[in-house]
């Protein structure tokens, strides 16, 4: 019964948003792929959105949900631009690895 009382409160929302943020950070760190990195950015956005909505609900303040609406549009725009950049990067280097992401860092020795 105690665990059901905990799950009736706002704890599971915090835990789930923690799962999502961990998933995003872990995907970037472990998979080392540019496409996965773009997808993981969206997952982290979603975890933070869930935190915003939870706190907004439990504090009774609607501003958090308005902020989430703005974040959704920004996330959609950044995702589209990120995908365009990744496709063009792949067209230049034929690679998706984060380790080899030094196109601007290399200096021409000649």
């Amino acid at each position: 019964m105690e665990i059901l009382r905990i799950f009736a409160s706002e704890y599971p929302f915090y835990v789930i948003s923690g799962f999502l943020i961990f998933l995003g950070i872990g995907l970037v760190l472990l998979k080392r792929n540019l496409l996965v990195a773009i997808l993981a950015l969206e997952v982290v956005f979603n975890g933070i959105n869930l935190l915003f909505v939870t706190v907004s609900h439990y504090l009774g303040d609607p501003k958090g949900k308005i902020i989430v609406l703005v974040t959704l549009a920004v996330a959609a725009g950044s995702f589209a631009i990120g995908l365009i950049l990744v496709v063009n990067y792949y067209r230049l280097t034929k690679s998706l690895s984060l380790e080899e992401l030094k196109l601007l860092g290399e200096r021409d020795e000649e």
Partner: protein, 170 residues
């Protein structure tokens, strides 16, 4: 009360399972499908937080638009680039663990300390009609900013393909 608790217990378990699946799958399409399930589940969670409008937006925008666009982008790449070949932990930098460790510490500290009594829900309100009236009366400037932000990807797409067409002609 008990129904809500049982439903949230099931949802938390589902989130945990699909988070683990996302880490363990070695192919990007399977990881994508797991994340798609997570997004739809999050839309259902918004319903438990009395945010029906956000739940609809979550399913339409994330699961319906963004991730499907990502799936169509995946079709452009060859299949061997979508596989998780290396997966080596040696490439991790030690400094990468610092924010993760900080987050774990803060998360556990909040869980141990507990939540004060004044943090209980004060008033359950904010339905769809209230949100629409708020958006179009008080926060109307946000709609203009959103329209402005959403025009960025369209302009970027136009610029990229225009350059490509010029290169192809020359």
């Amino acid at each position: 009360m008990i129904e809500r608790a049982i439903a949230l217990l099931i949802f938390t378990t589902l989130f945990f399972i699909f988070t683990l699946f996302t880490f363990f799958f070695r192919h990007l399409v399977y990881q994508f499908l797991c994340i798609l399930v997570l997004m739809v589940l999050q839309g259902i969670l918004y319903l438990y937080l009395n945010a029906e409008f956000l739940a609809a937006i979550q399913v339409i925008v994330y699961a319906g638009a963004i991730l499907v666009m990502f799936l169509f982008t995946l079709f452009l790449f060859p299949e061997e680039d979508l596989r998780d070949v290396k997966g080596d932990f040696r490439s991790l930098r030690y400094t990468s663990f610092l924010p993760v460790a900080l987050f774990i510490f803060l998360f556990l500290w909040e869980l141990i300390r507990g939540i004060p009594e004044s943090y209980l829900p004060q008033k359950i309100y904010f339905d769809l009609r209230e949100m629409a009236s708020l958006l179009f009366n008080e926060y109307w400037i946000i709609l203009f900013i959103l329209a402005f932000i959403l025009s960025f990807p369209m302009v970027a797409l136009y610029v990229f393909f225009k350059e490509e067409r010029e290169n192809g002609n020359s």
